[in-house]
Symmetry: C2
Subunit: 447 residues, 2 copies
């Protein structure tokens, strides 16, 4: 046989694309398409994808490469078409944080307000919680709908909350698993493509992004969060979608609770017109943008008023009840929250000193929750839906020595001890009040 390199027609080869990215080259759309299509078909071995991912991590991806990657990953699987529905389809995506349960609140608000919310969510991994795990704390709630059932529930109810299916962006599924074990997760282009390919496969018209920043966020530096937000907005718009991003604070948990059933409970509080101010505020703000981008209201302010109305009238709460019922869950939890699983024991974490809560190591709360049994190391791990953390102080609050900073809701004594170790230094107590209280919504990108 003649050596193929010299006289055979030139074919695209993975090794040449790896070399190009290694040497800081910019890939063409055709190159990205080849890479993702061949990877999805299993024609590029994992070791070549891993080498390319590390080269991309270290050399970076341009905006055009990121858009091409997003589109190639999106088209690696099924792209849902909801164009037959009579109103716009809108969704929200958060980059993840501790106590971030706004999905459970804004989806019923926006669906009650007349738009469709086809929400495909993830599970918790690492220190951040996942919407699916929270929903599964509701007895019977089924997040594993087929695409046909997803479509039916959405049409009938206006909202549907499911997990990623095998049909949606299979390239992302494969590549994400590889990034997780090759230290190539935290790259803006790769993160953007992963998030946006899945979200755009939902058949939405508009998307509101909640990009967290701070000690409990996946991305801690605000400038990095802004860059990711800009990249995602740009990528979504290149594909004809209405997109804005809010940069929001994650230097402390959102709301008073982190866990699963405790977060459902708190979401029901907000849907009932109560609940903590920060959670209510962010849920309303995100809902307002969804109404506006979905063309339901002429402006964001009107969107906010509509959201408030959906809560005050009880319509959002009704919508949540309906969604639970349609997805096989025990809808009685909405009115009888005691039906949600509760941890057997409580323990308090006292403040070591008197003063002011100055800062929190917010990611450690998530880690402690995982140790309690409420998080997973690997996707296959099972979790305890009843455990949780209850936060009694917010940054800037006064606290006396010995006063409870947190209450731990736990089921297992040994796990409690491990969690206590992580929680012991999670709160910084200062003699003086902090000069600045973190603003909840820090910036708006793309508006």
């Amino acid at each position: 046989m003649l050596p193929s390199r010299s006289i055979a027609p030139v074919l695209m080869r993975a090794v040449d694309l790896i070399r190009k990215k290694r040497d800081s080259g910019e890939h063409s759309r055709e190159e990205i398409d080849f890479l993702i299509a061949a990877c999805t078909r299993g024609e590029i071995p994992d070791y070549q994808m891993a080498a390319w991912l590390m080269a991309a991590w270290l050399r970076g991806l341009s905006r055009a490469e990121t858009a091409a990657l997003t589109e190639a990953m999106l088209h690696s699987g099924e792209v849902v078409d909801f164009s037959e529905l009579p109103a716009r389809k809108v969704d929200k995506h958060s980059t993840g944080g501790v106590g971030d349960k706004t999905s459970l609140i804004l989806a019923p608000i926006v669906a009650a307000g007349g738009l469709y919310v086809p929400m495909i969510s993830g599970r918790g991994l690492g220190h951040t919680g996942g919407t699916l795990d929270k929903l599964e704390s509701i007895p019977g709630f089924n997040v594993n709908l087929s695409l046909a059932d997803f479509r039916r529930v959405l049409r009938e109810c206006g909202m549907a909350l499911i997990g990623q299916t095998a049909e949606i962006a299979p390239a992302d599924k494969k590549i994400y698993a590889l990034r997780d074990v090759t230290a190539t997760v935290e790259n803006l282009g790769l993160i953007c493509a992963s998030i946006m390919s899945k979200k755009l496969a939902e058949g939405i018209d508009a998307l509101v992004l909640d990009v967290k920043t701070g000690s409990g966020a996946f991305i801690r530096q605000e400038e990095d969060s802004v860059r990711l937000a800009e990249l995602m907005v740009d990528t979504g718009r290149r594909m004809g979608k209405k997109v804005v991003a809010l940069i929001t604070d994650m230097n402390q948990p959102l709301g008073r609770f982190a866990g699963h059933s405790v977060e459902v409970l708190e979401s029901l509080e907000v849907l009932s017109g109560r609940g903590p101010a920060d959670l209510r505020e962010l849920s309303l703000e995100l809902s307002a943008w969804m109404f506006f981008l979905g063309g339901r209201t002429p402006g964001v302010d009107e969107g906010r008023r509509l959201a408030e109305e959906m809560i005050a009238s009880g319509k959002a709460r009704d919508k949540f009840r309906e969604c639970i019922r349609r997805q096989g869950g025990d809808a009685r939890v909405v009115d009888e929250p005691d039906r949600l699983p509760r941890a057997a024991h409580r323990a308090q974490i006292p403040s070591p000193a008197s003063g002011y809560l100055a800062a929190t190591k917010c990611a450690q709360f998530g880690a402690a929750l995982a140790v309690l049994g409420g998080g997973r190391e690997k996707q296959e791990d099972s979790i305890d839906h009843a455990v949780g953390l209850e936060f009694h102080k917010r940054i800037g609050d006064r606290v006396a020595a010995g006063e409870a900073l947190l209450t731990v809701h736990y089921n297992d004594q040994r796990r409690l001890a491990a969690a206590q170790e992580l929680l012991a230094d999670s709160c910084e107590i200062a003699a003086q009040p902090p000069r600045e209280i973190p603003k909840l919504v820090k910036r708006l990108i793309g508006a």
Copy 2:
């Protein structure tokens, strides 16, 4: 199960080492040992090694890391112990070039001069030739000796020429295969560790390195060749070996022939006191350093005189004859070179203009040889030992339009056409003689 991250004892994990190298960290000896041992045992999947290799390629490896990597790879397999032999064991390694056949000349010279040469060589890959392929053009010559037979031939004959066995540096074998398909070959630390781990496994006391530089070398820039040479000398010395490196020119082929049987033929010419000046000169220089480092002569000059004497007396030629016989080959080729395979046809490549040979695209000669059937794309490809290239001009030589620059020795008309295409622009003809003729031995490192 409790999440292992938080409360299990801390174990070394490949993903953490990948992240460390990605973030420009320097690995400890323990980390390198873990990585290589676990990789050799198949406990680290290829995709993690590939990601680490790309991170190492882009971030670089320190001298200490390179030495640790070399040692870990060396100890991934058997390290031959020849300490029972009554004289020093010395070897030479070349980074590879076109027409580089010095191994076939210096091994008999040095063995005839009283030292042991336990030489484990490679096959040709890409545009550079391999000693094993050249040896296999001798009918019956067996390069696949067991370690026991290798030891026996070396003891009885003073030299033995074999290929890498499964026992020698298995980590290198695995990692090299991965580097080849992940665009992570050309990194000085990785190259050094790959070369030195194999050479040090031979049980040698001293090593002379021939680091090629120029248009036909694997590393084209002289400064990079010097850096690689310094790294290899440093690494070898850290492990207690006597090592020097010669930086030698590869802007044109070494000697008049490139191929397999034609190179054996040319080597026999030099061993008979004839042959082209450049090949003879470099073979003597490398032999001289081997005699000196092996403690056979008090200086390099004396080593050179001893090498010349081994040729003049016919002892080196006798030694080569003996080695061929002991390794199963037809030793009559030494005196009756017509017994070597010869290509059926000849074709000339004429000069397109009158003037001076100013430069060559030397790697293209190697590529043309591969296309003729004399090289391989993959390790499994079989090759034609009879084809070759004969070079009629050296840089600086005058040439008339239409005069032959090369003669192609070929067997297949279709392959000839492909080779002619590559050869057409391989020689640069200038109106003026080149200002500078490349010096054969450019620098000496570590002397």
